[in-house]
Amino acid sequence: MLTFTIRRLVLAVPTLLFISLVIFLLLEMAPGDPMAQVPLTVPPEVKEKMREALGLGEPMPIRFWKWIVQFFWIEPQVLIDHYLGTSFSEGKLRVISWQTRSPVMDIVVQRIPQTLWVVGTAYIVAILIALPIGIYSAYRQYSWFDQMGTFVSMVGFSVPPFFSGVLVIVIFSVQLGWFPSIYDTTLVVNSWDSFVKQLQQMIMPVMVLALQITAQLSRFMRASMLDNLNQDYVRTARAKGLSEYVVVMVHVLRNSMIPVVTVIALGIPAIFGGAIITEQVFKVNGIGQLLIGAIQANDLPMVQTLTFIFAVLIVLFNLIADVLYGILDPRIRYD
């Protein structure tokens, strides 16, 4: 198992390098000019100097190499400095955003908590709802509960977040006035009132995200339970007189959780991507909104770094899913 994990980790390096190259080459073709906002009165030679100051003067491979050095070598040093108070990164050039002229990672670090709060809560809520629904639907297959569950998850698949989000805004904040439609990130939770306020503003984005995740997860849980319910070991468990609760909730559930856990791990990066739209609808200033803003402002270092962070998440969670699968199911050890 350890060799497998190490082999996968080693394989992840060329994958990530390839992805960063793809993103870099894509952005290389960008027609937008970072100097477009500079006034026309600025003479061309000064513009050329400014361009070089942004690091645009060098040929393409050198810039790619420099970006890799900045991202993989200098940024971790900054992180170490921040926590240990050392000064490894002193005087070294970090990835600078063209929009704000400040280090990209600083802005990303500011934005990540908002995204994590909303996405994380939504994911946990969705898992807590989806698993019982999936278990019960499979146990009572083709009952009215199962039919309802199928219909609701089909709706959950089909209603895109930019519609369900707007719909809950219309119902709960325009018509009923229960929740605010805009997520206030400046809110500091330090008292009961502010906690209630935080809860109120989180309910709608979490609901919208959770609906989608619940739809997918409950289907998976149901299918996986159905696969296991007809197995021989279930009959054995019943024959030796175990109670129905123990049979379903211990024997069947444990075995059906194996594929579901990997699906949960695989879904996490996709949720970060999907949260881009939800963040836009509810005006949560997380990393999704940062990406949209950077794309519209032609801020290439920011776009490159953010897209790459999404790619790292995908590769990382793929790896985690593979390893989890091997740990949970001893039959599938990749030796």
Partner: protein, 310 residues
């Protein structure tokens, strides 16, 4: 003697009167029993007919501005009301639907072609299997929505200049959705081709000297048709949602060119006063996707010989 009596009893057995049933008849019978799929299919046909044939019956131009009749509620003249520039919303919904459905179907066809091609080639030629599947894995590891957004930003202007505003953006959206959604199809098709390749009929065909290209087109492709068809229906759904999401984020079609996603995006500005402007396009997207998903569900059951006949 015993041989003779055996043939006699065999001769006396009742002759089959009905002609042998074709595979597609079986599939259709199974499909009919799935109520959701039938309803989904009918609804999808109705929506497609509505958006393509509707403009012949409802002749108001989707881009005609009538500023005096702006912001009207539903009436006989404008069943869905009018928008802030007095454009008829029913006509805009139909025009938008035509674009959204066309994008969905074209992008699905492109993704299907790429996916089946990669899947068949990877499954059939052992030497190409490794590299092609690594490529598929790499594509699966790409963050798709951010990349789609970046592609929209980068290639909008060159393509607009080359093909004109609407044509350019249509080509851009269709190709970018197509080349970012072929991977699941490729994986499924490859798995099926790997299994099919070991079957006797492929060996038989090869032993009478069938060339590789004929073997693929005549023997392999018809047998992997069912997973391809299921991916096709689900592909339409994801393509429509992706296009609407891009339009909703303001990076899809230009403002004066309606699609369902764009109409929804425009409607959010008037959310408080006229919530119906958001609800109509949103409902249209959701219903289309829902019907297509049910259709795919039914097709999967109908095309699976292990379930069929039960």
């Amino acid at each position: 003697m015993t041989e003779l009596s055996k043939t006699q009893t065999e001769l006396n057995q009742p002759q089959p009167t009905k002609p042998p049933r074709s595979q597609w008849l079986d599939v259709w019978d199974q499909f009919k029993t799935h109520k959701g799929a039938m309803m989904g299919g009918v609804l999808f046909v109705l929506i497609v007919a509505g958006v393509y044939l509707g403009p012949f019956l409802w002749e108001i131009d989707a881009t005609k501005i009538d500023i005096r009749a702006r912001n009207q509620g539903p009436s006989m003249a404008h069943p869905f009301g009018t928008d802030q520039l007095g454009r008829d919303l029913l006509a805009r919904m139909m025009a938008g639907g035509a674009t959204s459905v066309s994008v969905g179907i074209t992008a699905m066809l492109l993704a299907l072609f790429l996916g089946s091609f990669v899947g068949v080639v990877a499954g059939f030629f052992k030497r190409l299997d490794g590299p092609l599947m690594r490529l598929t894995d790499l594509f699966l590891a790409l963050p798709l929505l951010p990349l789609l957004l970046v592609m929209m930003l980068l290639f909008r202007e060159p393509l607009n200049a080359a093909f004109g505003l609407e044509q350019g953006i249509f080509i851009l959206i269709v190709t970018s959705i197509g080349i970012t959604s072929w991977m699941p199809t490729a994986r499924i098709v490859r798995g099926d081709v790997l299994a099919l390749k070991e079957r006797e009929f492929v060996l038989a065909a090869r032993s009478i000297g069938t060339t590789n290209s004929k073997l693929i087109t005549r023997h392999i492709l018809p047998n992997v048709l069912s997973p391809i068809m299921v991916s096709a229906t689900l592909g339409i759904a994801t393509a429509i949602i992706t296009e609407s999401a891009l339009s909703f984020l303001g990076l899809g079609f230009p403002p004066d060119f309606p699609t369902w996603g764009r109409l929804l995006f425009d409607g959010t500005d008037y959310l408080q006063q006229y919530p119906e402007r958001v609800i109509w396009p949103g409902l249209a997207i959701s219903l289309t996707v829902l019907s297509v998903n049910y259709l795919g569900d039914g097709l999967r059951d109908a095309l699976d010989p292990r379930i069929r006949g039960r």
